[in-house]
């Protein structure tokens, strides 16, 4: 089945002006105006990195806040504006969604990054490739924030080369038996459902022997172990499958046709990288503030030159992100060109982190307790991870070369 939001009937649509009034009324009732306090030196939380270290209690509290907000928003009809009515969506147009997202910018919305993969990749894949029962079980609940999904693609031996995965799915009458190991699974310890790729046919060429599944993370035989990052963060996991039994109705797409599912998901993953997913805007602003409060840096010609360079890059990226967001909100599918965005973004973040290190010197690498100084250490440590997550720079550039520029495939890459 397909439930393409673009095809839903529009007769229920309300006009944009009324919608705006309703949206503002709803947001006024539940949220504070966006604080500008993050732009004042020394005020507020000074963490910078998306992979910042949090205690388990802090993390849970953060998820609960996100979940409560998601539920409130969904129940008020703003959670899935373009979604179909039968799955709890509002069946409105992309213009409504874009408008809501603009209005929302003026409010202090709880951070909902925990749902980024769940809603950006897992839910669309289930909706597009899942059987009716699985769609009903997960999609609405995921959009309401009740359930969280994670992505089970990477393996210890299959990182950039996802298609070389070896986690096995063996058919046993109406069930599949899953065995193997996944790694770099973001948020698996909070997830209710996983989007799994497994090898169902070892005789076929590697891209043609993979099947995709939605898999309940509570099944017996699944074990999630945290990976500790340099930052101290533990949001990535290893996930072990020890003869896990899964009914065939959880299969997504055809048997041995999982690579097609994967491609559609990976495209969505790259699109996740737009917006200010990596916090570049915030980081550049913090860099500017840091310079401003330090006269020796503000007057240092080298710092000035490099800061100017970075602002150039960030400005370019911002315009591009606006264009890409426009495409997405308009319901256009993300194209391979959006690989560009992640590359440019993580490169700029690297420059930001390097300049911060240069400006702050020892204060960036040792904690003196001063606001906004050692906070940079997290970002400095995170940058290499950002460049790798969702495809290394090299892989992203190759995708660009092949799919956007139309160059031939890299030699002897057997795909």
């Amino acid at each position: 089945m397909t439930l393409n939001p673009v095809e839903t009937p529009c007769e229920t649509a309300i006009d944009l002006a009324t919608f705006e009034t309703n949206a503002r009324r709803f947001l006024d009732a539940h949220l504070q105006p966006a604080a500008t306090s993050t732009s004042v030196w020394g005020v507020g939380d000074d963490t910078m990195s998306p992979y910042a270290k949090r205690t388990p209690a802090q993390e849970l509290e953060r998820i609960e806040r996100a979940r409560a907000w998601k539920q409130t928003e969904f129940d008020a009809g703003f959670g899935w504006i373009t979604g179909p009515l039968e799955l709890g969506g509002a069946a409105l147009t992309p213009d409504h969604a874009r408008l809501y997202s603009e209005i929302q910018n003026a409010y202090d919305v709880p951070p909902t990054d925990i749902y980024a993969i769940s809603l950006g990749m897992v839910a669309p894949a289930i909706l597009q490739h899942g059987k009716r029962g699985v769609v009903d079980r997960y999609v609405e609940a995921m959009h309401r924030g009740d359930l969280i999904g994670c992505q089970l693609f990477s393996e210890p031996g299959a990182g950039s080369d996802v298609a070389s995965l070896t986690t096995k799915a063996t058919c046993d009458r109406d069930d599949w038996i899953i065995s193997g190991q996944k790694v770099w699974t973001s948020g698996a310890h909070h997830a209710d459902v996983g989007l799994l790729l497994a090898r169902s046919n070892t005789d076929a060429p590697k891209h043609r022997g993979i099947t995709a599944f939605a898999i309940p993370m509570s099944l017996p035989g699944i074990e999630v172990r945290p990976l500790t990052m340099m930052t101290g963060g533990t949001e990535f996991n290893e996930v072990f499958f020890d003869d896990v039994r899964l009914h065939d109705s959880f299969r997504l797409g055809p048997i041995d046709g999982g690579w097609g599912v994967a491609i559609s998901v990976l495209m969505n993953e790259r699109a996740l990288g737009t917006g200010d997913a990596f916090g570049l805007g915030r980081a550049v602003e913090r860099l500017r503030m840091t310079t401003a409060v330090q006269p020796s840096n503000a007057r240092n010609p080298l710092v000035r030159q490099q800061l100017a360079r970075i602002v150039c890059a960030a400005e370019c990226i911002r315009y591009q992100a606006l264009a890409a967001d426009g495409r997405r909100t308009a319901g256009l599918p993300p194209g391979p060109a959006e690989s560009v965005f992640k590359l440019a973004n993580t490169h700029a973040l690297r420059l930001v982190a390097e300049l911060a290190g240069q400006m702050l010197g020892a204060a960036a690498i040792a904690d003196t307790g001063e606001w906004g100084t050692y906070a940079w250490a997290d970002l400095i440590l995170t940058v290499p991870g950002l460049r790798v997550a969702g495809g290394t720079d090299e892989v992203m550039r190759n995708i660009l070369a092949e799919r956007v520029l139309g160059l031939p495939k890299e030699p002897s890459s057997v795909r």
């Binding site: 299959a158 790694v183 020892a362 400095i380 460049r387 790798v388």
Partner: protein
Amino acid sequence: MQFALTEEQTVLQQTASAFVDRYCPAALAKTWDETNHFPADLWQRMADLGWFSLPYPLDWGGGGGSPLEICIIAEALAHSSLDVAMAYVGTFIPGLVIYRHGTDEQRERFKPGLLEGAYRIAVAISEPDAGSDAAALRCSAVDAGDRFIVNGQKAWCTGAGLPGALIAAYVRTDPDAPKHRGISLLLIPGDAQGVQIRRTPTLARHLLGTNEVFFDDVEVPRENLVGALHGGFSLLMSGLDMEKTVMAAAYTGVAQSTLDEMLAYSKERRQFDRPIGNFQALAHPMADLQTEIDAARLLAYRAAWMISSQQPCTREASMAKLKGSETYVAAARLGMQVLAGHGFSTESVMSFRWRESIVATISGGTSQIQRNAVAKSMGLITY
């Protein structure tokens, strides 16, 4: 011009290399760092080999080693970690100040400890608000005849918290003189009354630890004044070329290890049906890196040779420090790209290299400061 090591130097290199393999392989250095562990027995083993006495002249009971030989040890130790190499270098560099500028009595008093590396001499220069101008320090020592009364605060004091630490503190003894002319060097035991030490959380360099030191009416006997009263600034500047040179050798050592580690991974790790090291997009940057490491090593050795042949080499030592530290950072950055996710996980040595490399272009004089020094030697006055 010739580029070969002598036979003795080759043996020294092999000994140091075997030492690292046996007593402090990189994975162990990483564990020490992660657990803030100070491996005291490692120092004892270095002392047993006579390494701490090497920099001192033979007629004083030292090993009479040349700067090049010290570079060879530092470079080899850095294959373990920069921190391990720095701990070695950091022990004799302030020791040489005492040897060169101390009174006969002080030289005799401290001699056994210096030759055996028994002291952890923690150099205390920087202060929280003084910025990068070392001469602007404010920590005060009032002359009370047979002793000084010290008050104030120091920052970035490496190793001050270790047992038996001796703090080599640069303090202001004449508040009215021009800033370079009112500084003196005092040796203050870390456990003296009124000394308080607070460890600073840092990204790396956890073996010795980085500390803030607070002096509250600390009494320091006059015999612990090193060099002339108010003459401390020249002591502070002395030995800088040697320190930069030896550390430059250490940077090339750890950069080479970093490259060796990523190279091994790139040959073993397969993606798209071949070892990832066979992709030019990784192979060529690694080839470039090896070229840069070779170049950085030659710059360090050249500076060492100039020191031993008594040529002024502030410019060449700055070049070596600049190039060495920047090369280590570049190596760690490339290593993170080659190891990708594995590098980001704390399981990998590379995660440790990355953390540690960030310190390299900051400590011991930032890259900007080295560039200023080189620019000055070219007749450019920047401000």
